[in-house]
Symmetry: C2
Subunit: 346 residues, 2 copies
């Protein structure tokens, strides 16, 4: 955690003092936010739309390591990954609630840093912070964020709508956030706890940024809306492309073929994969935390979707009996497996 000049013990403020401090000056920007922080519950109003609700839990030592993740970045990311879930339903995030469990090693300034990141994300994405719960923990930091959003009833996109012959599209590029994590962990090992150690990130800044400060693809949701395209199915890629694509195929009762040569991969990701001797397709398929969108559209939209900036067609949906496979550069088929970020597997 970063050092700061003045440190205030949380116990000197107490729970309510801390909440007052970190939520001061919050002004709602969404018309749907009627009442935010400061009562038993927040009050929101969605008269003509469907309401979307998504929850994420981030646990210190499992999802983040404060030796190399600044608290402000952590707050930003914690908020953005929840916004991403709402965009992945073709909706717009409007409100979040933030639950924090904090051990005694954190000071008021630490929590302010964390909240600064959460509030920055809210500001950039136009989301209101409307409530939460702040409590003690015995060890470490736990962040629980619930995001509420809206979508026109006929525009909500589920995982289950993929049809045979639909095109499979992904946004941005894949595997960079995973490579950023490998890089951060390598430098942490090399530093060996030395506080004055200067990590070597030159030429790999993109990987670090993808890991520490991911963005949600609001821009793509807006472009799709402007183009009048409602995907047949959609998810965000948090656990790796393979895992997510298997979710869509399972929910839609379909199979798929994606093509190795079409996987969008950044140059820095490729360089890093070579350095750590890792297969590049594996990184793109199973590296988590990209927060890109994975979606399907009907085949007849091929020309239109291919021209859309930031979107790449990587394959197509098939009948279920064909299974889910990656077609490699040499034309072989490799069955897709969920080997993503599964914190609970051995």
């Amino acid at each position: 955690m970063e050092l700061q000049e003045k440190q205030t013990e949380i116990s000197s403020l107490g729970e309510f003092g801390l909440i007052d401090r970190i939520t001061s000056g919050i002004t709602p920007v969404n018309a749907s936010t009627l009442k935010g922080v400061g009562d038993d519950s927040a009050v929101v109003r969605y008269p003509d739309t469907d309401t979307l609700v998504s929850t994420d839990l981030l646990v210190e030592g499992v999802h983040f390591d404060l030796t190399y993740v600044p608290l402000k970045h952590l707050g930003y990311k914690a908020a953005v990954v929840n916004f991403s879930d709402i965009y992945a339903m073709n909706g717009t995030p409007r409100q979040i609630t933030v639950g924090l469990a904090i051990s005694s090693r954190f000071t008021v300034e630490h929590i302010e840093q964390l909240y600064a990141g959460i509030r920055l994300a809210c500001e950039i994405y136009g989301v209101d912070l409307v409530g939460g719960d702040t409590t003690a923990s015995r060890s470490g930091l736990v962040i629980s964020i619930t995001c509420i959003g809206d979508a026109k009833a006929d525009k909500v996109v589920y995982r289950s709508g993929a049809k045979d012959t639909d095109l499979i599209c992904v946004t941005g590029d894949l595997g960079a956030a995973y490579m950023g994590l490998q890089l951060l962990e390598r430098e942490k090992r090399v530093s060996n706890g030395d506080k004055d150690f200067i990590p070597k990130f030159e030429g790999k800044e993109y990987l670090i940024e993808r890991q520490l400060k991911p963005e949600a693809r609001r821009d793509i949701i807006q472009k799709l809306a402007e183009a009048g395209i409602v995907p047949t199915s959609m998810m965000d890629i948090s656990d790796g492309l393979s895992s997510e694509l298997l979710h869509i195929c399972k929910a839609s009762d379909k199979g798929c073929r994606i093509y190795e040569e079409r996987l969008p991969i950044d140059y820095q990701t490729a360089v890093m994969a070579e350095e750590i001797n890792m297969n590049l397709a594996t990184a793109a398929l199973n590296g988590g935390e990209d927060y890109e969108l994975l979606f399907t559209v009907p085949l007849h939209l091929h020309e239109q979707i291919s021209k859309m900036d930031g979107v790449k067609v990587i394959g197509h949906i098939t009948k279920p009996e064909l299974g889910c496979a990656l077609v490699t550069r040499d034309g072989n088929e490799m069955e897709l497996k969920a080997q993503g970020f599964n914190h609970m597997s051995k």
Copy 2:
């Protein structure tokens, strides 16, 4: 934690396998629940009402001790305390999302027990479990529940609406949950870790039940609605009467007088207070986790509200310059202070 015959390692199922198992057979009961578990977000629809959102975080070692709290009771309580927040806005809870962080000492059966409690609470209160996040933790169990509910726009009750001369009412009785906790902790100390120890709870079953299996006051919300009464302010009592009353007075910019002789206290609470040599008023004022409702109504409703079963008038709201005080049996005034369950104070 209770022993069970067959124990399954969570890692043998993985995150998605565990989620499939604990959410199987969930059928929505509310018309507002369009899509529950199984996508990036849940989808709910509230066309003509306001939406209420409340979040709570429960941390092992801070909020509960699994040496004497059965997991099923814990799940039930975790859900009910969130329902209570929605009732405290004069609303009806409709959906919850459940975030769980689980350390490796928990098995699938443990989590099923916890979920059995959550699902029982949902069934009894007519609430749909619509989503969540399940992840690993390094140590202990963290439960994060977000509850979504609805209320007619003109029926939502905030903390800030108390007026001078309004009557202050509480439901049920106070201090019993706190005494239940004292009793459980005393028996834990006496048992000294002996697995065959049989704790002595005779004649104090009510205290144990209030601590382990609290209920939310849906019945009172329904009675108030039937009587056509909309309180001017309302909260649920989770941190102790003093603390909550101070919240209402601060939010409403008012003072208050409550009367020691009018505090509703159960006989078992009084017996236990004497056994542990604790002032009974202190237990009623500062003992947390009662989950009773604290609300204010205009003075002219005195007769009507006094006749309502389960409701007691304990004092009245005053002008702010009079401060907040308890009038003791001997007629003295004692300033109210928030000495409740503040996990973050020293």
